[in-house]
Amino acid sequence: MNAPAYNFAYLDEQTKRMIRRAILKAIAIPGYQVPFASREMPMPYGWGTGGVQVTAAILGPQDVLKVIDQGSDDTTNAISIRKFFAKTAGVATTTATDEATVIQTRHRIPETALHASQVLVYQVPIPEPLRFLEPRETETRRMHALAEYGLMHVKLYEDIARFGHIATAYAYPVKVNARYVMDPSPTPKFDNPKMDNCPALQLFGAGREKRIYAIPPYTQVVSLDFEDHPFEPYRFNAPCALCGAENSYLDEIVTDDKGGRMFVCSDTDYCEGRQAAGHHGSLSAAPYKEKAHG
């Protein structure tokens, strides 16, 4: 039997070079989706194969890797991916945001501000922001080429007409460098402002859809909105029940079957860091105390 042998960080060097070329092109054209010959990875499509390929292509032996899913280092998929690179690349791993040089994420941007020597790698399920308005790739590529984004604005307008608000709570579309409309991956719109003028390089990998795109450091990223309906990040209006943070994105935890709820930071590293620094929450937030947010 052909006993398998694997390269540093799993992918062979030829594949890594191909991915790096795609990454360089993506950085050169901020927000543009670069097609790449995505490989079958040893984890399923839809579980971060795009992010894993990008990470594998940029990872060096000196890197320190952090992997989060839903903001947490301890969700099963984050653990699985972190172990994958610890095993195949032997790199150091961390849960501390400021210690990491490469952070792979699914659905969140860390609360701790990123710095210039870091790369944030997003796992992306559907890279095409126009996909649910136009299912055809041939059409959406043309629309991007012509910067024909009227359809997206009509969709946002229809939301306002129907609901009084833009009814997109996550994967909220942004315009990058005043040119390409981009899907920020299914991060809650709370995280959108963090992408703007960010000192860290942001790379996006979509394995199943075979696309890579990027936001270079210090690039303008604007959430789409209207003058009379400006973009509003959503946050549940309560302090974290564990660390008392007033400005972090919160997970809602169902504590009983009688409507009991508590709200805690979704970013576990941020929350633990604050608790270690002596911040404490109530441990029991009253449920449904939600106000309008801005």
């Binding site: 839809g46 653990i79 299914p186 997970d251």
Partner: protein, 371 residues
């Protein structure tokens, strides 16, 4: 008090240990061997090799064992291994006309040069459960005869000699074959890439798409020109030696569908082709593939393309079961943060609705709406 969710790492390890235990099943029952899978579940191995795009019976059998018989999971295992293999080049085109045929049937001619050969087939068996197979069944020795030396030319070649069927376009000299596992797919895609996509595509998906063309969604009046199954030689031109070196023999199933004719003011009408090819014995797969291949040629043949099976982006983007199963199953991954965001929006909309409703209604009605 809520304790932050920790310990995922140990939970994963324990889950995998339990999986290994379940995979083995009752340890008083003999363990299944790779040879047993390869010999006695041969068609499962064929399917895993085809859709896994890797001709290796032993690895496919291992994948089936590791996947507990879940064939899509086994295909996934094979694909992930295949992705890491170096590429030395492309083989010479295999000559299915020179196939050592084990089975070969045509639905278009009663008799053909080389004859109809039924071979090992479920066709014409009565689907009655057979209790004698449950244990200790020893099959009769199959009937044997001297191997025939009569050539078995492809039926489409016979039709082609009279110009009754369109000729297969010859590859340009030195033109490389597309490979969607090495180059990202762009639409519209050429037929080589379409056929590669279909060859790797899920049998069930292609079966349903092919079936839909028979039921009027992109009807193209197919006849099975020929299905043949047997062994062909694979040859590879090594740069160093300068000639084709045989690499070995593989088993293939080929289906050539003969479809409704086309013609124009300048061209005499002739039959058109749909093509299916798969590793091992995979007749359902190759027939479905041939139907879908023909349906996807609608644009090229100047037909109206309105049905799903004629829609290249639809078919090619959804045929791959490894992609499909990954994305469908990823829904079981946590989505708390997006869901929380949606929850926030929905509560806000409901609150606004309740307030607007309260303003517009009597106190009694308002009470009801708030509930």
């Amino acid at each position: 008090m809520y304790v932050a969710v920790k310990g995922g790492e140990r939970a994963i390890e324990n889950a995998h240990r339990l999986l290994a235990h379940k995979r083995r099943g009752d340890q008083n029952v003999a363990e299944i061997s790779l040879d047993q899978i390869s010999e006695q579940l041969g068609l499962a191995v064929d399917r895993v090799m085809s859709e896994g795009s890797l001709y290796d019976r032993e690895l496919a059998a291992l994948a089936i064992k590791q996947a507990r018989g879940d064939l899509i999971e086994a295909i996934f295992l094979v694909r992930a291994f295949r992705a890491t293999l170096p590429r030395f080049g492309a083989s010479e085109p295999v000559d299915t006309g020179a196939m050592r045929v084990q089975r070969r049937v045509s639905a278009t001619f009663k008799d053909i040069p080389g004859g109809q050969i039924l071979g090992p087939t479920f066709d014409y068996t009565h689907r009655l459960l057979d209790p004698s197979l449950a244990e200790g069944f020893v099959p009769e020795t199959p009937a044997a005869a001297e191997a025939s030396t009569v050539p078995t030319p492809r039926v489409t070649d016979i039709l082609g000699r009279d110009g009754l069927i369109e000729s297969s376009p010859q590859a340009a000299d030195g033109a490389s074959v597309g490979d969607l596992t090495r180059e990202p797919l762009n639409f519209p895609a050429d037929r080589d890439l379409r056929l590669q996509n279909l060859a790797r595509g899920d049998e069930g998906f292609l079966l349903a798409m092919g079936y839909s063309t028979q039921r009027g969604y992109g009807r193209n009046h197919p006849f099975v020109g020929e299905i043949r199954f047997g062994e062909v030689e694979v040859e590879f031109v090594a740069e160093d030696v300068g000639f084709a070196v045989p690499l070995g023999a593989i088993e293939l199933t080929e289906c050539q569908m003969v479809n409704q004719f086309k013609g124009s003011a300048t061209e005499a009408p002739c039959f058109t082709r749909g093509y299916g090819l798969a590793f091992g014995q995979s007749e359902r797969k190759t027939m479905s593939m041939a139907l879908v291949d023909r349906a996807l040629r609608a644009r090229e043949l100047g037909e109206e393309a309105l049905a799903p099976a004629q829609d290249e982006e639809f078919v090619m983007s959804h045929s791959d079961n490894v992609q499909a199963t990954g994305f469908v199953e990823h829904l079981k991954l946590p989505h708390y943060v997006d869901f929380q965001s949606e929850l926030g929006l929905l509560r806000k909309l409901r609150q606004e609705f309740a307030e607007a409703f309260a303003d517009a209604n009597a106190p009694d009605a308002m009470k009801e709406a708030a509930e």
